[in-house]
């Protein structure tokens, strides 16, 4: 349907299990979606929705003891002779080490703990460079780090010589962003990059990320629980709930149509500083318990539109002509007719 060059990565029917002592928890269930090259794709979901697990599977960073149980992950990497297909889930550990950071890097939620507290920023940057590409001379390495730190608008002299605790939260997160750019990756995974930061710093970091996305053409996968951030910064979005991808499409369409009741609920439950607040209401009920999922659609106990069908069979993921997906019986085909394909 789509040419491969349009996507940078594809998740195909991915399921991820956490085998525990007595039972196994399926954190991600049968998720299929793609990341568009050069775009910012956001995965929205609450805690336990499986968004971090799903994204970490791309670089095999799923927290223990999780493992990909089913499905395949394909990455389309740029090589000198064109685009090459890489099966990210089938790489050997050695190949994965090369793949990680060279092709896909990650900015973690807690920048404070992602940096080693007893090493200066310079040492950590050099160490990573050495681990992946030992051919650079010391001057080249220094130049590269400086360039990146200045690119994220930090005072390179000061920051390179600092230990993590000497930097503020916003600065640390910018160091992490520079760090993720170190080996010129094609895709950056951003796991709640601004959760601990205040709005002004958050705005600043996202403007910076947007700039990186535009100027360097680096694709991004943003995981967040905050749909306001998605509305402001992302191009595509997927909504996760209980380990399932409930809806996927362009940000503009998803917000306009509000077709999936969960998405609609999330938007309706997020207060804003403008507009009417008296009509807002929370989503009733509580998030799903992965060990004890309801029959049928997993959102059905909280869904205002729930009907008999929803209680008996889980709705399949429907794909529409415009490339969007929805896991609900109530999606209208007509809303998703691609303008070009319509006739």
């Amino acid at each position: 349907m789509q040419s491969n060059t349009e996507n940078i990565a594809e998740f195909r029917h991915i399921s991820i299990d956490y085998p525990l002592k007595k039972y196994t928890i399926r954190a991600v269930t049968d998720v299929t979606f793609e990341l568009k090259r050069g775009k910012i794709t956001a995965l929205v979901g609450e805690s336990g929705s499986g968004k971090t697990t799903l994204a970490s599977s791309l670089i095999r960073c799923i927290s223990e003891p999780g493992r990909v149980a089913e499905g395949e992950i394909v990455f389309y990497g740029k090589e000198e002779d064109g685009i090459r297909e890489i099966r990210a889930d089938a790489l050997s550990d050695k190949e994965m080490r090369k793949f990680r950071w060279n092709k896909v890097s990650m900015v973690f939620q807690a920048a404070q703990s992602a940096l080693n507290p007893v090493m200066t920023v310079r040492q950590q940057f050099f160490e990573t460079l050495d681990a992946h590409d030992s051919k650079l001379t010391k001057e080249q390495k220094e130049e590269k780090c400086r360039g990146l730190l200045e690119y994220v608008k930090l005072d390179a002299d000061r920051v390179l010589a600092s230990y993590p605790h000497e930097l503020s939260g916003g600065m640390k997160q910018r160091v992490m962003i520079a760090f993720s750019l170190l080996l010129d990756p094609e895709l950056i995974i951003l796991d709640e990059p601004t959760t601990a930061l205040d709005v002004i710093t958050q705005n600043y970091i996202f403007n910076l990320l947007k700039e990186i996305n535009r100027e360097r053409g680096i694709s991004m996968l943003l995981m967040t629980h905050d749909i306001s951030v998605v509305a402001k910064f992302a191009d595509y979005m997927g909504v996760m709930y209980g380990g399932r991808l409930m809806e996927y499409g362009t940000v503009a369409e998803v917000f306009k149509n509000r077709e999936h009741p969960y998405t609609a609920g999330l938007i309706g439950a997020t207060p804003s500083i403008i507009g009417d607040i008296s009509s807002m209401h929370p989503i009733e009920g509580s998030p799903p318990d992965l060990m004890n999922l309801p029959k049928g659609c997993i959102f059905s106990p909280r869904c205002p539109k729930c009907c008999d069908l929803c209680l008996t069979a889980e709705p399949p993921t429907r794909e529409f002509a415009d490339g969007s997906k929805g896991k609900c019986y109530f999606f209208k085909e007509a809303d998703h007719a691609d303008a070009a394909d319509a006739n």
């Binding site: 609450e46 205040d198 710093t201 749909i227 997020t270 207060p271 804003s272 403008i274 009733e284």
Partner: protein, 344 residues
């Protein structure tokens, strides 16, 4: 600073903070201590039944102010009045009325003793303050509280330990514990920041309900203007920056027409959950560098970052009363007046 107090001269407010200063000493070099000036000349009135929001970035002193209001901290200088009576700290046994201020903390897991059941955590404070009550009376009170916060049937929750409840349920328990002593004022420090989005509104609704039903005043501390606007709909907001209140007024007015240069930047930075508002990318700020809290002078704390700073900003500055708010700024005539967010 006098301006704020003028309005409520007639009836004493529930709580009045007057020129609160908070200085933490940190060991510096060999002979000098570093003085960290966390709060500087903060004055604020809280009336009965009112919701006052304290908003600002991390490190602006809003939590410290909250702890002073609850009596956990004693201010370095300045006075705290509760119902017109001067109080100074919780451990002052004489001032038992001060018990009427309760606290809801941010991290609901840390706020409950992990090895005690919910029942034990709720029972102890009620027993302490109602020595004469029988177990039956207290059980009845707990039952009543559980109904109020919407955790029914209560038996299902009371026997559990904190880690067996969800974040939203724990936060409700914290609210039950806070209202169990029938306080007149509750300080809520970021009560929903660790709660899932879909559950936030119901907690905020619960707080609004308690505010209306029981006429309890709330001090809502948050860095999130959106939830603040939701809960404090008709209340006031005090915007804090580096330990000072820079703008205080009705929340609707302040958000619609922010006047202090910092408030303007803050409001512009808030993302709108609607892709049609892309907003202005560049914030009206000169730099991202937060000022220092150490050994502060008289001048404006926002001076270095302000686009509209002038010579006067270096000296002592006072509040200016505008038609919407009290603003701590000396050059207000040069700050734009237009709303940050226009209609689409």
């Amino acid at each position: 600073m006098q301006t704020q107090q003028m309005q409520t001269e007639s009836a004493a407010p529930l709580m009045r903070l007057e020129n609160i200063n908070m200085v933490f000493k940190k060991p510096g070099s060999l002979f000098t201590d570093r003085n960290i000036h966390v709060l500087k000349d903060v004055s604020l009135d809280i009336s009965e039944g009112e919701i006052v929001a304290l908003v600002g970035e991390s490190g602006c002193g809003k939590t410290t102010l909250g702890k002073i209001i609850t009596g956990l901290y004693r201010p370095t200088s300045g006075d705290v009045y509760f119902e017109g009576e001067r109080v100074s700290g919780t451990f002052d046994k004489k001032l038992s009325s001060y018990n009427q201020v309760q606290f809801i903390q941010q991290d609901s897991y840390a706020a409950l003793n992990p090895v005690r059941t919910i029942y034990q955590s709720l029972y102890a404070p009620i027993k302490t303050h109602n020595r004469k009550w029988s177990k039956k009376q207290i059980d009845g009170r707990i039952e009543e509280l559980m109904g109020l916060i919407g955790l029914q049937p209560s038996a299902q929750f009371l026997t559990k330990y904190p880690h067996q409840l969800s974040g939203g349920q724990r936060q409700r328990i914290l609210m039950a514990r806070a209202i169990s002593l029938e306080p007149k004022l509750i300080v809520a420090d970021e009560p929903v920041s660790m709660i899932d989005v879909s559950l936030r509104l119901s907690l905020l609704n619960l707080m609004k309900e308690l505010n209306e039903k029981l006429n309890m005043s709330f001090v809502y501390i948050s860095h999130d203007l959106s939830t603040t606007r939701y809960i404090a709909r008709n209340g006031r907001v005090a915007v804090m920056y580096l330990g000072e209140i820079v703008e205080v007024g009705n929340i609707g007015d302040v958000i619609a027409k922010p006047r202090h240069p910092y408030t303007r930047a803050l409001i512009q930075a808030v993302p709108i959950p609607d892709p049609e508002y892309k907003g202005n990318d560049e914030l009206p700020l000169r730099s991202m560098q937060l000022g220092s809290l150490e050994n502060r002078g008289d001048g404006c704390a926002f001076y270095e970052r302000c686009l509209y700073s002038c010579e006067k900003c270096r000296g002592k500055i006072g509040f200016v009363k505008t038609d919407t708010a009290d603003v701590l700024c000396c050059n207000l005539e040069n700050v734009p007046r237009d709303p940050v967010y226009d209609k689409k």
